[in-house]
């Protein structure tokens, strides 16, 4: 079973993504800040990460910089899901950038394409 790490500070959105991914046969972990996300990423080595940009304390791009420096984690595909337009500039290597509120089917398609 493929593992997805969800990073978002809004518990309602975490809940949404968790249910959505689990309904489609993925295993999920959720983190609501960068610190938690780093711990979980190192422990679980997920197959894919969804990342919010604006969070209290540290923001999404800092998490991206941190995992880019770790050998085991730097190749994990990242999907940015945030309220900001034009997030490609924030995280250059993201496989996709979705704006909230996102299209559910589009997200699932991107996830499945990246986890083949």
């Amino acid at each position: 079973m493929k593992k997805i790490l969800i990073v978002d500070d809004d518990p309602n959105i975490v809940d949404y993504l968790t249910t959505l991914f689990e309904d489609n046969g993925f295993l999920t972990f959720a983190a609501r800040n960068v610190k938690e996300a780093m711990e979980l990423a190192r422990k679980e080595i997920p197959d894919l990460i969804t990342l919010d940009l604006e969070m209290p304390e540290e923001w999404g791009p800092r998490f991206y910089r941190k995992i880019s420096q770790e050998k085991n984690l730097k190749n994990i595909p990242i999907i940015v899901i945030s309220g900001f337009p034009g997030c490609t500039h924030a995280i250059g290597k993201a496989v996709a950038c979705l704006q909230k509120p996102f299209d559910r089917d589009e997200l699932l398609k991107i996830v499945k394409d990246n986890l083949k």
Partner: protein, 499 residues
């Protein structure tokens, strides 16, 4: 021309002779047989001169003459009397007759008397014309003074030294009756003339000039004004004074500031709104799939979630509405105990759900307070919810609590203390927490809550003291006056945040 003459003489031959003489002099001659005739004649014809023997008709003839003079003031009366009646006539008519002639009348004397009467008539009519003109002039002057006074602008007239020589009503109302003072002293409390002065420019080139200024009224209030000048010239066309007209545009400027910050707000909050919409999508997804699968647990959870998100959206919309339209406070006298209990009840539900202890302590017999209950309630709930959030966000403690203490600080001030042992605030958060659009809650905050709360407390003449330490918790000490303050301390928050 004063050619209509009425001859009144009981001596018919004498009268006839006079008539012939006067007709030869191109005068229109009328005669009257009795006193009724006289009055009827005056109704019909514009008689200018009356040549009369006062011994005519009745004893009251002099009374009739007096009446005529009173009614037709422009009529000139020439009296002709026999030597016996001469003194009597003079004593009674006095200066109401323009001339007195001895009977039988001699032509030279009559000519002179008529000439004098005509001169009087000419002078009188001239005076009448002038009087009418003066009246028109006076009316015009009144009208202009009224216009000058009632124009909804500040108008001042200044000489070459920028001394005020005239000001209108609105100017006097806001800047005082300062005739003789310098414009720059009164408008700007300066000791020297302003560097760029439209009045000086108009003295130089006789053209109208305009500037935008900030002036300070006698009460210390600042106004944004647009100023126009116009030269005032004397009869030789020299500029002796300059009129300055200032229109108050403070409201427009405030509106502009407000619109700017509204734009800023929409921009900064669109992120939060998008987050909520996504969460709402999530709730709907779970509800749909829960129902499809007949999974009651999931359906219930979805309901709960949607309810919670609806609450968040409601709060945000209300905050936007408050900010979009700043309202006047509506003061009411309310019971402090009831007000505090109501705020506590609203916040407590959330605390209990999250397993946070809520301690409410209301000192006995607090009495009443004058506030706008709606805004104070919203503000207290906001502080309480923040305290609960601070506990929720704090992941390191188990025994979390929020304390809400209400007590009398002094007879005229009431304290509302909200304390939590949550995550606390660092120096930066503490400094910025009341700033518009600042939030430490990421996408969950609008950055409006504490900004509005601070403004509401300020408007009520209250104060907020904050103590906080990261990891240990925060304490907000809100102090409100028991009675409505005489003067509001309204710091204009838009101004501070935008500039």
């Amino acid at each position: 021309m004063a050619n209509e003459i009425l001859i009144i003489d009981k001596d018919i031959r004498h009268a006839k002779a006079l008539g012939i003489y006067l007709k030869r002099k191109k005068m229109r001659v009328y005669t009257a047989k009795n006193s009724d005739d006289i009055l009827k004649l005056f109704d019909r014809i514009n008689i200018k001169i009356v040549l009369a023997d006062p011994s005519c008709f009745s004893k009251d003839f002099i009374g009739i003459l007096k009446k005529i003079k009173k009614t037709y003031s422009e009529v000139q009366i020439v009296i002709m009397a026999t030597p016996e009646q001469f003194d009597y006539a003079m004593a009674y008519l006095k200066d109401e007759a323009v001339h007195y002639l001895l009977k039988p009348v001699k032509s030279a004397a009559l000519d002179m008397a008529l000439k004098q009467a005509k001169t009087w008539i000419a002078v009188n009519s001239k005076l009448l014309r002038y009087e009418k003109k003066m009246q028109v002039l006076k009316q015009a002057q009144n009208l202009f003074q009224q216009l000058f006074d009632e124009v909804p602008c500040y108008i001042s007239v200044q000489d070459k030294n920028f001394c005020l020589t005239a000001t209108n009503k609105m100017f006097k109302r806001d800047f005082g009756d300062e005739i003789g003072s310098h414009c720059y002293e009164v408008y700007k409390h300066r000791v020297l003339p302003c560097e760029k002065c439209p009045v000086a420019d108009t003295f130089k080139d006789a053209l109208s000039h305009s500037t935008e200024e900030v002036v300070t009224s006698k009460s210390g209030k600042q106004h944004n004004v647009i100023t126009w000048t116009a030269p005032v010239k004397d009869s030789h066309g020299r500029i002796t004074q300059v009129m300055e007209m200032s229109t108050n545009i403070s409201q427009i400027r405030q509106l502009q500031d407000h619109l700017t910050s509204l734009g800023l707000m929409i921009g900064s909050m669109s992120h939060g709104i998008k987050g909520m919409l996504t969460a709402l999508d999530g709730g709907i997804y779970q509800l749909e799939t829960g129902l499809a699968k007949g999974d009651k647990k999931r359906t219930d959870h979805a309901f709960d979630q949607i309810k919670q998100i609806a609450g968040r959206i409601r709060k945000m919309v209300l905050e936007i509405l408050y900010y979009a339209k700043s309202r006047e406070l509506v003061y009411q006298t309310v019971e402090i105990k009831k007000m505090a209990q109501k705020a506590a009840e609203d916040a407590m539900a959330m605390a209990i759900k999250k397993g946070i202890r809520f301690k409410l302590k209301i000192a006995p017999s607090l009495g009443t307070i004058q506030v706008d209950p709606n805004w104070i309630h919203a503000t207290l709930v906001n502080f309480l919810e923040n305290a609960i959030d601070a506990c929720i966000y704090d992941l390191n403690k188990k025994n979390q609590f929020v304390k809400f203490d209400i007590f009398e600080k002094s007879p005229d001030r009431i304290c509302f203390v909200i304390q939590d042992n949550g995550m606390g605030m660092d120096q930066e958060t503490k400094e910025k927490m009341f700033t518009l659009f600042f939030t430490s809650k990421g996408s969950q905050g609008t950055g409006l809550g504490l900004f509005i709360a601070n403004r509401v407390i300020c408007q009520h003449g209250g104060t907020i003291e904050v103590e906080s330490e990261p990891g240990k918790g925060s304490c907000f000490n809100i102090s409100l006056p028991r009675k409505k303050p005489e003067q509001f301390c309204i710091v204009d928050p838009h101004h501070e945040e935008i500039t």
